[in-house]
């Protein structure tokens, strides 16, 4: 049992997990409502059926009481006939002098609908008088009959026999009639002497039948029968079938029931039996109503009730589905929005409405997502800033070799009396440093950047003894635009180291800044030996290898410039290299065209 419950619980948990909130709500609402409705309905129905059964029993009892009254009146009528025969005919007559047959005949005729015969017997069983038949059958001995001895035993009382065939008198028509005998002991006067005798009044069966038949007990197959105190059937609507043993009746048990309603099961049939004792005789009226028929009486109601329940269940399912859909709509909308977020959507409508809890939940999720996004943006920004700072720092560091070589050149020039050249070199170096610092600003006018490149080229030209020539130019208004600093110098450094090292006075480096729409392009070209395409591709590839260690200009500077530009302005900006072996190299630096105002804003954002 425990395992079964556990299995059921597990299965329910599985279903619960797999099902939608709407389905669970619908199911639980419906189940709870159906259970309540069935419970209430069953309670009402059982109460109703109980009340109906009680009412049926009360109805049966009322009907039986009425039948009892009628039967009692009928029996009292028969008793009055007996009283009349005794007190007005027999008691006043001296049988030695007068006969009483005529008076009995008159009495019979006035009650012939209810009587079969009236007869007076002596104590020895000799027929004294009788009506309407007056001759005893040969061999008949009345004194041995039950009704005779019962009358003798109950001197003051009347005795009612069980039904029997009247077999006393010779009937030329050979009629054998069933009668109930009413007998009493009487005093006969003969020649002044009083002797005992028995008065017999045989009642016609029809009178009892008239009272008991067609009694409607309120049940389609209900009926009423009459038994004596011993359970012997006196009247039954299907009496002959019972006598022929084609039908059975629970009459013996019914005789033992006290007055009132009882439930019994007889031959597999449940019946409601109502019993009422007929006063004086000890007979019992028994009303029988098969329980199935009681149910039949409100079977229609049961069917109707059943349909109403089923219809209500259907209605509940329908309403609950709609109701749960309405209740769960905000939750489902929220669920969809969260799924969209999980799928990577940027803009999701989290304003789902609904009740307080759901709305609070949606606001919380919205707030959480907003916070998360801000945090992520901050982190990204910080990372970018960090990276840019690192690159800026790296970029701003002067190659010690460059510094050493420059200073060494200054010393050499000074020693050789070329003071003017030394001054020019030192002046360019000083300007170079001043522009490199730029008071800490990373964005400088393009004019300064070009100036920085010019001083760098001046120094390098002096160092390389004018192996190459250089020109720097800018389009109209370009110099007023802004750029991140120190982006031209690393390219020039690469051009000098890789392109001019072997030049013999014919090397050329050209720097040209011009505007292309919303962009500024600084083109740095040289007529050096150039490089193959794979080297070009490797130079700007963040995952690509650097130049061989020990070689002049590893390419790190070039890549740093590219990364700095992209980190600052986005991926559509940066470097583009065009180069072919023996055809020189041109590096394009693409930047946004930032005016003074934009540069100021950019600086603030970087801070």
């Amino acid at each position: 049992m425990g395992k079964l419950l556990s299995a059921l619980r597990g299965r329910w948990a599985g279903v619960y997990r797999r099902s939608s909130i709407q389905l669970i709500l619908s199911l639980t609402f419906t189940a709870a409502a159906v259970a309540g409705m069935v419970f209430l309905g069953m309670t009402l129905f059982l109460r109703f059926s109980s009340v109906t059964n009680t009412q049926m029993a009360q109805t049966s009892q009322r009907i039986l009481s009425q039948v009892n009254l009628n039967l009692d009146a009928y029996l009292r009528g028969m008793m009055r006939v007996s009283d009349t025969a005794y007190y007005q005919v027999i008691k006043d007559a001296d049988l030695q002098r007068e006969g009483i047959s005529q008076e009995l005949e008159l009495l019979y005729q006035s009650n012939r609908d209810h009587l079969v015969s009236i007869a007076v017997f002596t104590e020895e069983g000799k027929l004294e008088a009788a009506a309407p038949l007056g001759r005893l059958k040969p061999g008949v001995t009345p004194q041995t009959e039950g009704w005779f001895s019962a009358a003798r035993e109950r001197m003051e009382n009347l005795h009612f026999s069980t039904p029997h065939v009247q077999d006393l008198f010779v009937d030329p028509d050979h009629r054998y009639r069933w009668v109930v005998s009413l007998s009493r002991q009487v005093e006969l006067t003969r020649g002044g002497a009083v002797e005992k005798g028995v008065l017999l009044v045989d009642m016609n069966y029809g009178g009892i039948e008239q009272i008991c038949k067609d009694v409607d007990l309120g049940s389609s197959q209900g009926y009423l029968y009459l038994v004596d105190g011993e359970g012997e059937i006196i009247y039954h609507p299907r009496q002959q079938l019972i006598y022929a043993r084609l039908l059975e009746e629970n009459n013996q048990a019914a005789a033992g029931y006290p007055d009132g309603s009882h439930d019994e099961t007889f031959r597999g049939q449940r019946r409601q039996v109502t019993v009422k004792t007929v006063g004086y005789t000890g007979w019992k009226l028994v009303g029988v109503a098969p329980v199935e028929n009681l149910w039949d009486n409100y079977g229609e109601l049961l069917l109707f009730f059943l349909f109403v329940v089923l219809f209500s269940i259907y209605l509940l399912v329908f309403v609950n589905l709609r109701l749960s859909a309405w209740i769960t709509a905000p939750v489902k909308k929220l669920d969809r929005a969260v799924k969209e977020l999980e799928a990577g959507a940027e803009q999701v409508d989290l304003d789902v409405g609904g009740p307080y809890e759901v709305e609070h939940l949606s606001r919380s999720i919205q707030s959480m997502i907003s916070t998360q996004r801000h945090l992520m943006d901050d982190i990204i920004q910080q990372e970018k800033q960090k990276r840019r700072s690192e690159l800026d720092v790296l970029q701003s560091q002067i190659n010690p070799h460059f510094l050493y070589n420059t200073l060494d050149s200054v010393i050499w020039m000074t020693e050789n009396g070329r003071t003017g050249d030394a001054v020019r070199m030192l002046t360019s170096l000083a300007r170079l440093f001043r522009i490199s610092l730029s008071r800490g600003s990373s964005l400088i006018p393009i004019a300064d950047e070009l100036e920085h490149a010019r001083h760098y080229l001046t120094i390098q030209q002096m160092r390389y003894k004018n192996k190459f020539s250089a020109s720097i130019s800018a389009g109209d208004g370009v110099e007023r635009l802004y750029t991140i600093k120190l982006i031209v110098q690393p390219i020039l450094e690469n051009a000098i180291y890789h392109g001019m090292d072997f030049a013999d006075g014919d090397g050329e480096i050209a720097v040209r800044a011009c505007r292309e729409g919303e962009d500024v392009v600084i083109r740095v070209s040289d007529n050096g030996p150039g490089m193959p395409q794979e080297v070009v591709e490797r130079l700007l590839d963040p995952a690509g290898e650097y130049a061989a260690p020990g070689a002049k200009g590893s390419g790190i500077g070039l890549r740093n410039v590219h990364l700095r530009i992209q980190l600052t302005f986005g991926s559509r900006y940066g470097l583009t290299i065009q180069s072919e072996p023996d055809a020189g190299t041109t590096v394009y630096i693409r930047l946004p065209a930032l005016g003074e105002e934009e540069a100021r804003r950019e600086r603030r954002e970087q801070l």
Binding site: Y176, Y205, Q239, Q240, E292, N293, N297, Y314
Partner: protein, 322 residues
């Protein structure tokens, strides 16, 4: 139309249908169990002859069953008593006209066999004479041979070996009454009684019987195997000063009267009311293609003057009449 709108439309349609059904249920009255009577069944009864069968009590049983089972009984009486050929014609006519159910008291198996077979088991039930072997759907009655032996047994008690017992052959032909007679004769002969047959039908003048009884005075007992003839013989013997003992089969009021006055020494009786009731019940069940209730076998009992009014015998011999 979206899925949701379609579902809503279906739901509302079903809702409307449900409401409609609810209203219909409020209007319809459902049939109640046990109250429905089966359709009326017309049942034809073909007795052997008027006054011979069915007896009053048997007819009461038939009428009771007819009332219980919603059957209308129609009696077709042959003009000539015990005429198998006329019965055959009546049966033929009924079958030709599509009779739903027929109860037949066969007068002669030979004359009726072909027609009984044609009628088929779903239509025909016989009484007194078992013709299920010839194709009848059922037979309601006692074991005729056993009943005949019971009558003979009663006669054995009243006669001595070598004495003559006159067997009244009241219904000629191959039938249940003749079976009784033959079984009784066999038992009597085996017990050393002499037997004689006398053809004497109900309603016939008793001259032949009178002649035989007055012939030599050797007839010690007379055996009659059906009610009508038994009543008649009983009435006639009651007039004689020294009548032979009379034994027979029957349970009519006339037989009871004969027992009371002593003109019948003993009668083997069956409950005619049961026979009539069961016959109609079985025929109705066959016609309605239903299985009849198992009521057990019909029995018979020997009644004498001494036990005629025993309470149990009263109930079986004298139907309650109002």
């Amino acid at each position: 139309m979206s899925l949701r709108e379609r579902a809503l439309k279906w739901g509302l349609t079903l809702l409307a249908l449900g409401v409609l059904l609810l209203l219909l249920i409020l209007l319809i009255r459902f049939p109640r169990r046990g109250r429905q009577k089966p359709p009326l069944l017309e049942m034809t009864v073909i007795p052997r002859a008027e006054g011979s069968s069915p007896g009053v009590y048997l007819r009461q049983g038939m009428e009771q069953a007819a009332a219980d089972l919603n059957v209308e009984l129609r009696f077709l009486l042959p003009a000539s008593p015990g005429d198998g050929e006329e019965q055959r014609q009546l049966l033929h006519w009924e079958v030709e006209n599509g009779a739903a159910a027929v109860l037949l008291f066969p007068a002669d198996r030979g004359a009726l066999a072909e027609e009984v077979e044609r009628a088929g088991p779903a239509v025909l039930v016989t009484l007194e004479t078992d013709m299920t072997g010839e194709g009848a759907g059922g037979y309601i009655g006692v074991d005729n041979a056993a009943l005949g032996r019971e009558v003979a047994q009663a006669a054995l008690n009243g006669t001595r070996q070598g004495e003559t017992v006159l067997l009244i052959h009241s219904v000629p032909g191959d039938n249940g009454i003749t079976e009784r007679l033959l079984a009784a004769e066999a038992l009597l002969l085996s017990q050393g009684r002499r037997t004689e047959h006398l053809a004497f039908g109900a309603g016939e003048p008793p001259e032949a019987l009178s002649e035989r009884l007055e012939q030599d005075g050797t007839v010690k007992a007379v055996l009659v195997f059906e009610s009508a003839a038994l009543e008649q013989v009983s009435d006639w013997l009651a007039l004689l000063e020294t009548p032979p003992l009379l034994y027979g089969a029957g349970s009519t009021a006339g037989v009871a009267a004969g027992l009371e006055r002593g003109s019948i020494t003993a009668a083997v009786a069956q409950n005619d009311f049961s026979v009539g009731y069961l016959a109609v019940e079985q025929a109705a069940c066959l016609a309605r293609r239903k299985t009849p209730a198992d009521r057990g076998e019909l029995t018979f009992f020997t009644v004498r003057k001494e036990n005629l009014y025993d309470p149990e015998y009263q109930k079986l011999l004298f139907p309650v009449t109002r």
